[in-house]
Each structure stands twice: as C-alpha cells, then as structure tokens.
C-alpha cells in the first residue's frame, strides 16, 4: 500500500515475442497498404503494425474494445503512437486481413502512415483545463473529420503534414513546431477583481509574474492595475493570482500557425509562423477554422514538390508568395514585436513583388 517509486511496468513485459527476438535487428520497413507498416528484420522475421485513429480522450469501453481486438489478432499486444493513434502489432501475417476486416466493420479508421496526415496532437481544452481559451478536442474532431481522406490515404500529400491544437498559449503540445498549429489566444487584457485581490493576491509575486512589466501596484485598492499598452495577454498573471481573470467569450478565439517541423530531415527543425491571427470560437463546428486548415492543406498540396514539408515549401517560395497563393491578408499582427523581432525583418532587396 505504501509502495512508492516503483515506476511503470517494464516495457519488456509488454513486447510481443517477435519484437523481443528482433529487438534492434529491424532492417527496413514498407507500407504494404495505407495505415499498415511492415517491418522486416535482418533475421527475416516480419511484423505488421496496423494503425487506427483514436480520439485520444477515450472511455473504458474503448480500452476494452481495442484490448479484445489485440487479443484476437495480436496475442494481446498493442501500442499507442506519439500522436495518440493505436497500433495493433500483428506477428502472424495470416491474421492481418481478418484484423483489418474487423477494424473496418467496427468503423475504426485505418491510416496515418507514410504520406498522410496523421492524428492531431492536442490538449485538454474546456474538457479539463482551467486555462483553456477554446476546446481542443472539438476543433481536432472537426478538422480530422474534414481531412479524414488524407488520413486514410485516399488523398495523397507531398509529404507528411502534422497538425497540433493547443487551447492556450501555454501550448501543451508541439504547436510551436508543427506544419499547421491552432492556438487559443486572448485579445483583451485581464480584469482584476480588486476586492478579491486585496484578500488573496500576493501582490509582489503577481507583479513579478508579468514578463512585460505591465502590472503595477494599486496601493489604494491594495490590488494591482494592468497597463493595457504593455500587456501582451499571455495569461501568466492569472496563473499566479486567482483574482485576475482573462477569459472573454466575446473576444477569445484561435490563431493559426504554419510551417513548423521537428524532424531533421533535409532542413533543420523550424518554428511555426503566424498565418491567421484570429478566428472567433464558433462551436460546435468551428467552420472557419476547419475551412482555413483545409485551404492551407490544399494550397500546399497542390504547390509543394514531392517530399516537401509545409515549411520547406514556404522557405523555397518565400512568405510573400505564400500570402499571395493562400490569399490570406498580411497584417500588422504578422510582424513580430517580441524579443527577437528584428531578426525576422528582411534585410535585403531580395523578395518577390
């Protein structure tokens, strides 16, 4: 009962025999059909992995259902991916087609492998986070519903494309480095409940929490005031003092960022850059967000060269061309004004008209 610090189950106990035997001995893989990976070992052994979409937020029913399936076709072995898909690990090739048939029958979506758009990495949203500016699960469901043919492999893309959704600028995901990111943002400064603040706020800590020095003491009210010219709406102060509220249903919403990547493939990792500064929250469908994402995907897919990630494509053609091709307005919001802003300004006559 008082057992602590024993750590998670040992992964070695969770591996199918074919993996144990061929651990570190894989020679290559192929993608025999969309959503399926075939790994071949130096020993000649073969492992098939069948990847299916998951909403990430799942119920015990889901857990039991995939466990049942794994037991039936995979000797009980399965795994999740770093993008929250489920992978059924098939050691016996004979069971591959039956597994696929059952997954199809049960409406599991098979895909996300190779030249496809895989599942979205997203965060808690209104479902569980106090800081959520939007609902990450809702937005993600809508986007992937719209892009499902890119997941299943019906429509091909020039290269992988990774989408991330974060419900606030804390970005509990990889939003700063995704091909397309959706990030919840505020557009109005926090309000201070002076009465409450005077009782529960640690004024010095609150002042210190503001990265831009926008918070000044308000000695009269034993509270603080926020300088609207300096406040960049990061929400940091609200994490420190519960009397400061930043939520604003009328003006909160999401921004869209593009061109990030993490793999070192060809180009070094890149940050995602601002494409659309603001789209209002419009649940349950967020149609403007879904449309914008699809539009970005389509413009990229129809212009990029084979194997070119969103960011590589934009680097090649230039951002001025990107804004032209996507027909997105370029605004004062796109121009950086944070710490390293000047390093993003163009110091050259080289640009496209």
């Amino acid at each position: 009962m008082a057992r602590t610090d024993f750590g998670p189950p040992d992964f070695r106990e969770m591996l199918p025999p074919v993996i144990k035997e061929n651990y570190g001995q894989w020679k290559y893989h192929t993608v025999p059909r969309p959503g399926v990976l075939k790994h071949v070992s130096y020993s000649g052994a073969v492992l098939h992995s069948v990847r299916v979409a998951s909403p990430r937020l799942v119920s015990s029913d889901f857990i039991r259902d995939i466990s049942d399936i794994a037991e039936k076709y995979c000797d009980g072995f399965l795994r999740f991916t770093t993008r929250n898909n489920v992978e059924f690990l098939v050691s016996d090739e004979a069971k591959l087609q039956p597994l696929i048939d059952e997954l199809d029958a049960k409406d599991y979506l098979i895909g996300g492998v190779g030249l496809s758009i895989s599942n979205i990495v997203h965060t808690q949203g209104w479902i569980h986070c106090k800081s959520a500016v939007t609902d990450a699960s809702g937005i993600s469901k809508n986007i992937m519903e719209d892009l499902k043919d890119y997941f299943t492999g019906k429509i091909k893309v020039p290269s992988r494309l990774r989408i991330a959704v974060a419900c606030c600028v804390n970005m509990c995901g990889a939003c700063h480095c995704s091909d397309i990111s959706i990030v919840g943002i505020h557009r109005t400064i926090p309000r201070v409940n002076d009465e409450l603040a005077s009782k529960i706020c640690e004024i010095p800590t609150t002042i210190a929490a503001c990265p831009t020095g926008a918070i000044r003491p308000n000695p009269k009210a034993k509270s603080v005031t926020i300088n609207s010219e300096k406040c960049m709406m990061c929400g940091n102060c609200t994490a420190v003092c519960p009397a400061i509220k930043i939520m604003d249903p009328v003006n909160d919403g999401v921004s869209i960022w593009v061109g990030g990547k993490l793999s070192n493939s060809r180009k070094a990792p890149m940050f995602s850059k601002l494409a659309i500064p603001f789209i209002p929250n419009n649940p349950p469908y967020w149609p403007e967000v879904t449309d914008a994402v699809r539009h970005l995907v389509e413009v990229w897919a129809s212009h990029a060269r084979e194997g070119e990630r969103m960011g590589e494509w934009i680097e090649r053609i230039g951002w001025e061309r990107f804004f032209k091709l996507t027909d997105l307005p370029f605004t004062n919001k796109h121009i950086d004004d944070f710490t390293h802003a000047t390093t993003t300004f163009r110091s050259s006559t080289q640009f496209k008209f």
Partner: protein, 397 residues
C-alpha cells in the same frame, strides 16, 4: 443520461472520425462524473468559455505530485465534477501494452474514476481524467497493485517519454525505450517529489527524425545519431533504380550537404562521410538500401520548450556526441550537474533554457564543465560585446 440534452455536442458524434463526445457518453452510462463533464462542456460550448476554477492542490500519500487538482466553477449545476482531478500515470516506455494490463487499468479506473482517459497526455502519461479527492488515494493504491505508478507534475522531473526505437524501428541509433526505462527508475524521487523551481523534461528520440518531438518539448532531448559512415547496400540501390526510382532527383540532389554522388558507370551510390550531417533524407526515402552507421550514440540538446514566457525554443546542441550504454552513467551525471545548477540558480518558474539564455551559454558550459565546440552554434557571435574575465587578461601595466 436522458435527463439532459447536449445538442451542440451531439453534432460532434456525427461523421467518421472517432468522436470524443461518444466516448464521454459511453463513460457517462456508468459514471455520473462523466455525465456532468458532458453537461458542463455543453455549457462551455454554449457560452464559449471554460468552467474550471483556478487553483486547488490535492495529493496522495508519499507523493508530492502526479495529480492535477480540478474544481468546477459551477458545482451547484454539475455536482459530480465539483472535484474532478486527474491522475498522471506513468506510461510504459514506447507506449507498449498488453490487453491484460489495459483491462486491469480500466477495472481500477471504472471503480474510482470517470472511466475516461487521455491515451496519452502530451508529456507521455496516461491521463486518468477525473475523480474526487476522496477516491484518489484508493485509486492510486490499487493502481500500484497492478504495477502502475504516478508520473510527474509541478517543479519536478516530468514523466519521460520516447519514440518506439529499437523495438520496432530500423533507424534507431540508441535504445530509447531502455534509456527511458532506466532513467525513469533512477529518477523516481525527483519525478515524484517536486523540489525544483519548475518542470524539467527529458525525451528520447532514437534518431534525428525525432518521432518523440523531443527537441521542442524537452529541456533535455536525447537524440540518437551515428558518427561513422551511413551504410549503403548497393544491390538494393540498384533494385530501387530498376523499379524507376530517380536516384539523382529524389536523393542525390536533395542531400543538403552534397555528400552523395551517383556513379552511373559503376552503378554505385557513394557518400562522403565527413560532409554528411545525418539529415536522414536518403535513409528515409530508401530504407531498404541505406541505413544508419554503426558507431552510434546521442546528440544532447538543451532548452527546448514552448513560448511561455521568453518565446519558444528548440533545444540547442549541448553535447554533439555521447555514447549511450547502460547504465548511462555519463548521461545521468550530466543531468545531475545540470539540474543541480539550475535548481540553485533559476528564478521561480524559469526553465533551464531561459536560465541559460539569461546567464549565457558559455558561462553555463563552464559551470557544468563542457568545452565550447562549434557544433553548438549555427554561427559565432556578430556583435563585438565580448566579456573578458580579469583572469584572462594581463594585469594593467
């Protein structure tokens, strides 16, 4: 379930993509917490605002973290989410499970919680989504019986995670799952008992493809690399070409360092090892023909994190090459040096990357005893504001 309507959320049950709403509804059949979660979420969808309170610390015996306390700000309306804490349960390295283990987990969680999960959280944990303060301790106790321990939260080392690695990937240069397993066991104390100014994250990707997104999401990213020549199977290369693969267009011309050349006469693909920067491109597009080298190890990147508050960072090269053999002593020693220094010097809520930015990378290197090497930078400084220590210069004449 029938006593309430969620017309907005019901819309999100439509379509082919799996629906989180359906999942919550499934759980709601037996869990009043899940039912109230759905109701409260419907309210959020209507009002376009969240309904969780700020603050609230809860915990379990023997642990300083691993639980995120959560309270509804409309508890009268939705009493079953008045308390709706999550437990961060340390996942299995590489996210491997058996059906049996998962079912055990579901049994415990159905007994004590909402029956809802995030498989997995962005850091890597199994997120058990929603339980009461009361149920927390027995839940954790029974989890321990089935071999599941808590992960990290607060000013702690956070749950470590990694890519699938050698278990299923031909590109793995290092044994990511073993490293994560080993470090996780080694660092149980600092994972479970927050004692640092802020979070510290470690992730391992076994090659530069970074399938664990380590370089952007971990204070210390361990990235598998090799330093000898990549291996080319000429026979396999010729097979690709026979099938219509355009070797120059698709590989040679796309190599960022011009390290590759195709000898059309000898029908041979050659690599200039000193030029290759291990960008993975050729290996990725010709997996049957080109493989990683044999002298493998890790590049360590320091300082990756999200924008709050100094702007986003992708980890910076700290160690160009480190051998990675169990028990990973060199790595652990370095982690200890870094975290000790950081814990001693960081301000509250200052990540290690931000601290390094504040004191300067060169000073940081000196403290932890690493030699500056050009691999650490994209380019040397371009401003003339060089600091000189009094010891470095002659006494003034």
């Amino acid at each position: 379930m029938d006593e309430f309507k969620t017309p907005l959320l019901d819309e999100l049950e439509k379509g082919d993509w799996p629906s989180f709403v359906s999942e919550i509804k499934k759980a709601a059949k037996t869990s009043p917490g899940a039912a109230d979660l759905l109701r409260q979420l419907e309210l959020s969808y209507k009002e376009k605002v969240g309904h969780w309170k700020h603050g609230g610390i809860v915990g379990v015996r023997g642990y300083g973290g691993g639980v995120v306390g959560r309270y509804s700000d409309v508890p009268e309306e939705f009493p079953h989410v008045r308390e709706f804490h999550t437990a961060r349960v340390n996942q299995v390295a590489g996210f491997f499970y058996t059906a049996e283990k998962l079912r055990q987990l579901a049994d415990v969680w159905d007994k004590y919680g909402s029956g809802l999960y995030n498989m997995h959280g962005s850091t890597g944990d199994i997120i058990l989504l929603g339980t009461t303060t009361e149920n927390l301790q027995p839940c954790v106790d029974e989890l321990s019986d089935i071999g599941f321990d808590l992960g990290g939260s607060g000013g702690a080392m956070r749950t470590l995670s990694c890519c699938v690695g050698k278990a299923r990937c031909e590109k793995a240069c290092i044994d990511s799952t073993d490293i994560i397993r080993d470090l996780t066991m080694h660092y149980q104390d600092v994972i479970h008992r927050p004692q640092w100014p802020y979070k510290f994250k470690i992730k391992v990707s076994a090659c530069p493809n970074d399938c664990a997104a380590a370089s952007a999401r971990s204070d210390l990213a361990v990235m598998g690399v090799w330093r000898d020549a990549l291996r080319i199977d000429q026979e396999a290369v010729r097979e690709y070409i026979a099938k219509g693969f355009k070797i120059n267009e698709q590989v040679v011309n796309k190599c960022p360092t011009e390290a590759l050349s195709w000898d059309a006469e000898k029908q041979e693909l050659n690599v200039c090892t000193e030029e290759c920067t291990r960008c993975m491109h050729c290996i990725n597009v010709m997996p049957k023909a080109i493989s990683i080298g044999k002298e493998t190890g890790a590049t360590l990147l320091i300082g990756g994190k999200v924008p709050v508050v100094k702007g986003p960072m992708i980890g910076w090269v700290l160690v160009p090459f480190m051998k990675m053999e169990p028990p990973y002593t060199e790595l652990k020693d370095l982690v200890d040096k870094i975290t000790d220094w950081w814990a001693d010097n960081a301000k509250n809520r200052e990540r290690v990357g931000e601290l390094i930015e504040r004191v300067g990378l060169a000073n940081f290197l000196e403290v932890i005893g690493l030699k500056p090497v050009p691999q650490m930078v994209k380019a040397p400084r371009h401003n003339p504001y060089i600091f000189w220590n009094p010891e470095e210069v002659e006494k003034r004449g």
